[in-house]
């Protein structure tokens, strides 16, 4: 179990306990957090679950695997701290993670 904080574009904070093994995307979708579309359902095929991860956390969570950056090329306003939330798996180690949701996904 890990507490994940989703900060929406208008600075609304949603802190949710997400089960280990789920992804940060699933935690958002299952709890109706606005701003994460996840059109492809977690297949790393659409870039609509795009989030920004604050610097300190960005280096702590598991690194991007092949293909994630390719999809991020297509995301709305990607930055150097962009991630696809469907590729961040929840574990005790990421308890306290905070992600920022972009103003739109496309």
């Amino acid at each position: 179990m890990a507490k994940i904080t989703y900060v929406t574009h208008d600075n609304e904070r949603h802190t949710i306990e997400v089960q280990n093994g789920l992804t940060v995307m699933e935690g958002a979708v299952q709890n109706d957090i606005p701003g994460i579309d996840a059109d492809c359902g977690g297949g790393m095929a659409c870039a609509t679950c795009h989030v920004y991860v604050k610097e300190d956390w960005f280096n702590k969570i598991p690194k991007k695997e092949d293909g994630e950056d390719d999809m991020l090329d297509m995301a709305f306003e990607p930055k150097t701290n962009s991630r696809l939330s469907c590729q961040i798996v929840v574990s005790d180690e990421i308890d306290g993670l905070e992600v920022n949701i972009p103003s739109k996904q496309a």
Partner: protein, 338 residues
């Protein structure tokens, strides 16, 4: 005006198998899809990715699945309308009048929406200023490359489309190629060719830059691009091309008076009919308690929706359930029996 027993919106796996089921029970159908090819998400998002949960198919890629579904449709004559988006669905007596973006019209008692997560549209620049130049100086696809001759063209993106057009247009245009990082996801040979042209001065390459602003009165004059370190560069540009792939948008479906739940359409699980009589939704786009977004679910939903269509298309006949192993009717339709 095209008249048909059922119009299918979406040529993905669910739409294709629904067409199979319609033809098998003796109904006509036509298929409209906004993409320029058959296969939907399977072909657009993951043609090379293996799928492991299609019943009786231990492993196949999105492309193989699409090709198999197309060959399963071989016995039937089905008209596809590709690169067309359905814009309007209107009630006309007991039928539906359907209009597409190319001006095609259909009159049909049954409309089956097999639209996945909506239609594929190009992803656009995030910068607001870009909108006013769209389809004039700024494009997301190339229709006529001759308009670029002798001009300065700024191309954005890191995939094959961006690279291919940068290489092609560098023959007789001044090219700026702008990408948000140093790595390109195009095929290596194309990346090598591009790098060679950069060395020869045929392509000006700007990496770690993104679009920041667009300037001009009626016509585009220049653009600002912004580096990861916030430095801004102004590039004189007559044209801008953006290649960021495609995104799925629900689009006009939202205006057809259907009960929507987020980006999905609510249906019953007997006929997969929406709140509008004669409009059905199947596959990823439909929603009901227990819905699974699996291809196999789409096949089941399409089979039931097809049977429901029979009633409205042939009001004076009675649908009879038959097996392909034994029914001479079905075998005839499949071309297996005289």
């Amino acid at each position: 005006m095209n008249k048909t027993d059922a119009l299918i919106i979406g040529a993905g796996p669910t739409g294709l198998f629904t067409a199979h089921q319609l033809k098998l029970i003796g109904l006509d159908c036509e298929i409209v899809d906004n993409l320029d090819k058959i296969g939907g998400q399977c072909i657009e998002l993951y043609p090379d990715k293996p799928i492991y949960d299609i019943p009786a198919v231990p492993e196949c890629t999105g492309e193989e699945l699409t090709n198999n579904l197309i060959s399963q449709l071989k016995p039937f004559d089905i008209k596809f309308h590709l690169s067309e988006r359905v814009e309007e669905v209107k009630k006309e007596d007991t039928s539906w009048l359907v209009k597409t973006s190319s001006g095609n019209t259909f009159l049909t008692p049954n409309v089956i929406i097999a639209g996945g997560v909506g239609s594929f549209e190009p992803r656009k620049f995030a910068t607001k200023e870009c909108e006013q130049f769209e389809n004039k100086s700024l494009f997301y696809s190339v229709k006529d490359k001759n308009i670029f001759k002798g001009k300065t063209v700024s191309i954005f993106g890191g995939g094959d489309s961006a690279l291919d057009w940068a290489i092609e247009l560098s023959k007789d245009c001044k090219i700026n190629l702008v990408h948000r990082r140093d790595e390109f996801r195009g095929v290596q040979a194309t990346v090598d060719k591009m790098n060679e042209l950069v060395k020869l001065g045929k392509i000006n390459l700007f990496t770690k830059y993104q679009m920041a602003n667009a300037h001009g009165d009626q016509k585009l004059e220049s653009i600002d691009i912004k580096h990861d370190n916030n430095e801004i560069k102004n590039l004189k540009s007559d044209y801008v091309l953006g290649f960021f792939g495609l995104i799925m948008q629900l689009g006009p479906i939202a205006n057809w008076g259907l009960n929507l739940n987020k980006k999905t359409i609510e249906v019953d699980t007997e006929r997969f009919e929406t709140n509008q009589k004669g409009i059905y939704a199947v596959g990823d786009i439909c929603n009901y308690p227990g819905k699974l977004k699996l291809i196999l679910s789409g096949f089941h939903e399409g089979a039931l929706a097809a049977r429901a269509c029979f009633k409205l298309a042939r009001p004076n006949e009675k649908y009879r359930f038959e097996f392909t192993t034994t029914s001479s009717n079905l075998l005839k339709r499949l071309g297996k029996k005289e």
